[in-house]
Structures are given as structure tokens and as C-alpha cells.
Amino acid sequence: MTARLADAGALTRHREALAAGLSPSRGVIAVCVGTGCRANGALKVCEALRAEVEARGAAREVEARATGCQGFCQGGPLLLLVPEGVVYQHVRVADVPEIVEKTLLGGELVERLLFVDPVTDLQCRKEEELPFYRPQQRVLLGASGLLDPTSIDSYIALGGYSALARALEMGPEAVLEEVKRSGLRGRGGAGFPTGRKWEACRKAEGELKYVVCNADEGDPGAFMDDALLEGNPHSVLEGMIIGALAMGACEGHVYVRQEYPVAVERITRAVSQARELGLLGEAILGSELSFDLRVSRGGGAFVCGEASAMMASLEGRRGVPRRRLIHLSERGLWGRPTNLNNVETWANVPHIVLKGADWFASIGTEGSSGTKIFSLVGKVANTGLVEVPMGTTLREIVFGAGGGVPDGKAFKAVQTGGPSGGCLPADKLDLPVDFDTLEAEGSMMGSGGMIVMDEDTCMVDVAKYFLRFLASESCGNCTSCRDGLALLHDLLGDITEGRGTRATIALVEELADTVEATSLCALGTSAVNPVRSTLRYFRDEYLAHVDEKRCPAGVCKALISFSIDAERCNGCTLCAVRCPQDAVAGEKKQLHSIDQELCIKCGICKDVCNRDAVLVQ
């Protein structure tokens, strides 16, 4: 175990010693064990690689390392060869002996594991050749695919904590000035200028101040904060320690979503490692700064992403937001000055301190500097985390990095900003994504969720989906949110179940205005955005539901029916066997038919048919 680092010099010497301990020719085979790849079997691949490397006596030359998210979830489990930069995708345990034999020992590529660009049909050998990575600038995510997130030395070896040493040298005021000048704005969604928030907290009166990291990432479909906490927890810690220095805070909290058990474990481990090295605790790196951190798990309540609700939760109370007549920077946690920033915001801080405000401001647009991580998911060819300069267009993200909609389907909409955001149609794809542009179009950038929807997605159903989520997450404090959202959900249910009329749509619009005007926190006031944006851009779909009792996308059960195409059915009996209702009749090798009385429209027949013979109308 390394001894406590007495000062900045000791940190540098420790880093040099780590570099000296490694053979310069040693390669790393980085196995992504981020959430997506882990769910896909990456841990077993990593174990097998380690065993094979060991068995072949190559452990001195190559390290098989489990890393955080490498971004390209679609290709998972992913391998990255360092320093060559070669990417292997969809790696299975069975591929491991060949990878070791051919690539690690023989220097040849295993071609079938390379990504093939669907446009050019060319194999992509290196990361930068993959269309997915081409538009990206991976300031925050780059390291998470390289380092071992369970080791503080791995972070230090890559230059970690040198921003903290630099910040201690600069002093609190200069650090604050740098963050202000960088134009960094909160990545959680609200986009408030971070420097101004810090300044308010610094100026607030009080001996004891807190800094809090909001890691209660609640937007369904967004997982960049999880990826950062799992893949590079020390970068978030370093940002928080620098923030504590700038604001004069001595205690910090990381509030992590309980559905991310690995993130909880990684950040908890990172905190104790930092404590052992004296990067947390009394007299950090021999300076006057004393600061320590606690990790708190959330209880699984979306509303706790709201700052005052999170404070309540951290105080051991129900997560109910309160009116903020006095800013949290003056009276926050336990009534003391508190600064709350999101995970991604904190992770930007070390880069700003090291590379300077001018460098940061040179990335992105004038009003929105830096990069932003988007989680590109849904009906998109390349699912994953995309980090691009702010101001990149939706088209570059969805069709450039994302490779567009798969299976030859037509793009319908992209949903941005989580449950508080909205759905944007194809003619908005050339909009640059930043804090301000999307808001003017009825959506928002939010925390960076980007869900792609195709022709098979029903927009009324999507709006209903978000309302169901928000109605169940409402804390219940405001009548308009508690009852209003449930009522809105029911009204949309009327529309999707064929009971709706044009009057229902009018009532939805009126009620949406009321909920927005009379709810206390952003959960309620922004809850109507998905309804409003779908009504604004996809009103014809609503009208088809109410006027023609038809769901154009074929999703809403009450408005669709299943039948079998006589041309295509070859009587294989698969649908009849699998139908849970015994609603499919037909002899072997004869045309089958569906009994509409018995059919519950579960869609299993359509799923199992190999000949695409089940029709939805």
C-alpha cells in the first residue's frame, strides 16, 4: 500500500514510480465492462482473457484489464488494444484463444471481430475509423475506456489528481475565476452557469459548507453519469475536491441512484482509496484544505434529482421538494450553504483547471461551451454513449455516430431531455444541440438522453408512457401534479383505447396548462412537455386515434387487430403452438387464421413467425 502523499511533489514522484514499474513495451487489452457490455457477458470474456494470457506466458507483455464504458455499447462486449487502438466487437469467450494466439502473440488481426462500416463496406481497424467515434471528442469518456476504475494508481498514472495539485497552487479565487471564465454550465439539464453557483456558495456566510454530487440519474434512457462513476470515479472525486477548495466546503456527499450498484461500489472504493493517499481528509497534499466525502444511496425516487428533494433525502426525510425562497447556496443541506452539481459537471472541472478556461471555451458554442455526453438509444443502429462538442447537430449524432434507424425503417422522432423534454420530428434534425436551441423548439437537451423512434413507435403511446412514469414518481405534494398527471394519463388512455374525441385532446391541452402553472417543482411544470411536443409535431397521429380510431404505428392494442397473410403463411404451426390463448387455428402446411374473439393481441405470433406473415392493422 502506498503511504499518504505529503505534498504535490510526493504525488508526482508516486506517478513517476508507477510509470517506471511498467515495461514500456507492455500492451493493454482493455475489456469494456460498462453496464451494457457487462450485461452482454464481458466479465467472462475478461476472465478468459486473463487466464489465456497467463497460460500462454504472456502476462509480462500484455495486461488484460477490465475498464469502464468505451461508449460503443452496440458492439459489446468490446475490446480495445492499447496502444494500437484496434477495436474488436461482439467478443465471446470462444474467441479468446484466437485473439491471444493471433493478435497478441502473432501480431495479426482477427478480421471477423472488426466493425464493418455499413456504408463503405470497409473493415474499421482502429477506433477513429469507426463511424460511431468519428464525430466525437471524448474529453470525459476517453479515459474511462483505458483505466482500471478500481485502482487509484491507474488514474494517477494517467495524470490523475494533477489538476488538484494545480488548483492548490492557484488558490481558491483563481480556480473559481477559471471555472467562471470557462462558461461551464450544469450538465444535469438546467444549464445554470457553474461558476456563478460556486461564487454564490463561496460568498455565503457560514463556517460549514457542503458540496454535493447529484448522481441520482433518473431520466430513463440516460446512463452517462453511471458510466462516468463506474468508469472513472476519481475524475468526479477530483472535481469535487477542487470545488470544495474553491468554495471553502469541508464536507461532501455523493448521492447515487440505488439502481446502479456497481457505481455505488466504485465511488465508495474510490473515496476510501483517496482517503488512504491523503487526497481526502485533513491537510490534503500538505495544504490547508480539509475535506471529506460520504456516499449516500438514493431510495429510488425520480423526484430526488430535484435539488431540494435531494437535500431532504440526505437529511433522512421523504424526498419532497420545498419552495426555494432562499437559494440552496445559502441555505441548503442542514440549513447550511450547499453547492449541488451533476456528475458530468464535476468531471469537467479537473480538465478546466489543467487545460484552462480558454481551451474549454474553445469547444462547443458561445453560450454552451465544452462537450456533452449523449446516450443514444432506442431505434438506432449504433446504441451507445456519444461525447460531442456542444452545437453538434441532431443529424450528426443520430445518423453520423448512430448510423440512423436500423432494419430499413423510417425515422420518426428523437426524444431528448428525458421525461421533461420532448419529441422532435425529422425536419428538426439539423438543429444544433445545446442548452438553448432545443428549448425554443419545445424540447430540451436536458441531461443528454436521446431516444430514437421509428415508424413503429406510436407518439400518443410515448406521451402516455412518460405520464405514467411521472404520475408514479410525483411526490404527491402538489394537487395539480399528483392528481393532474394521473388524470392526463387517463385521458391519453382514453385516446389510445378508442374512447377519445377531439374534445379529449382539448381537455388534455387545458389540463397541461393547469399542471404547468400550478406545480411547485420542475417535475410537475415540465411533465407536460412530452404531451405538448407530440401534440405540436404529431397531431395527425392523435387525430387518427380519435377520428378514425386507428393507431398508425400499430401499437395501441384497442385499435389494432392481428391477421395472417394468406400469401406468406406456409402453415408451419409455430404461431399456433406459441399462442398463449389457442387463438390460432390451422392444420400443418395449411393457411392459419386468428380467432379475433380469443386474441389478446400479445403479438407473440408476429414475433415467432419466420415468414413475416402476421399482419397488424
Partner: protein, 186 residues
Amino acid sequence: MKEGSNVSDTEVADARRVAAMERCPSDAPLDSSATRTILERYPRRDPGDLVNILHDLQAELRYLPEPALQETASYLGLSPTQVYGVATFYHGFHTEPRGEHTCTVCVGTACHVRGAARLLEQLERDTGVASGGTAADLSLNIEEVSCVGACAIGPLVIVDGDTHGHMTPDSLSRMVTKLLDTGEQE
């Protein structure tokens, strides 16, 4: 639950309940020393640790029985109302005994547009357990989660901590039947 033998459903259910109770006596009289051990991990008796304590208690006891909540309240110097309020406010806590297996359907937006709602319906139909509920024989809990960050393989279902991607109602149905019959997932 599909038939397949000549034993009645009630008998199967009873047998499962007995087996589940033997494996994990979640209804057994509360062992206060287990609660005590967990509480003592938090020597500062800081009410701010309440949510963390409830997580630890639930990990040990599988749910939050009333006596454990009472003991937590007196340990932290809080009213039982506040502790009970917190335990029932957050989705992550359960104040009723839990089943042996847990099947969690991801209903995040990405999984939703890929058909997660159909998975949930299928699961409810197959097991007769409503989302958020526990089977009467304590064999199974059905839960929803809004995104676990594995959207690339959605729609997905998590069974006892193991993630299964690209699920269809049919594949889920077969997996759950096997799980309940043999205790194995694949």
C-alpha cells in the same frame, strides 16, 4: 404457470411456499441482533444515514419489518412516523415479505420503444402477479426499473441480478416457467 403434472395448482403453490420459507424465513420472528449489528455500523446516529440504513436492513432481511423500523427510529432518535414515511416513500423499499426470485422488467424509454410493456404484460399474465407485487406462495416478485444503462440489448429483464437482453414475450415466458420450476434461468 403452466400445468404439466397431476398435482393441483394449490398443492404446487403450498409446496413452493413451504420451500421458500425454509430457504429464507422472511416471516420468521425478527432477529433483533441482525438489526442491531447493522445499526451499529452507523455509530454517529446521524438521521442523514436513514436511507443507507434502510438499504442495509433490507439487504439483510429482504424487506423492512415493522420491528426493525421501530428499532431504527429509536436508534436515530427519530419518530417511527418519519422512518415509516421514508420507508414507504421510496420505490426501493418494501414493508411486506418478499418472494424468493425477482424478475425486473426494464421500462426505460429505450426499452419501452422496443416493446417492454409487452414483456410486463406477458409476465403478469403468466404468473398472475401484478407489477410491483409478490406471488402468494412467495416464489416471485415482479418489478419495474426505469433504465439500467444497458439500452443496446433492450428490451431487457433482470432475473435475480442477471441481465437478459433482446427479450420477447415468448422467450421471457419460457424463462420464467423454467425459473419457477427448477430455480434455474437457462
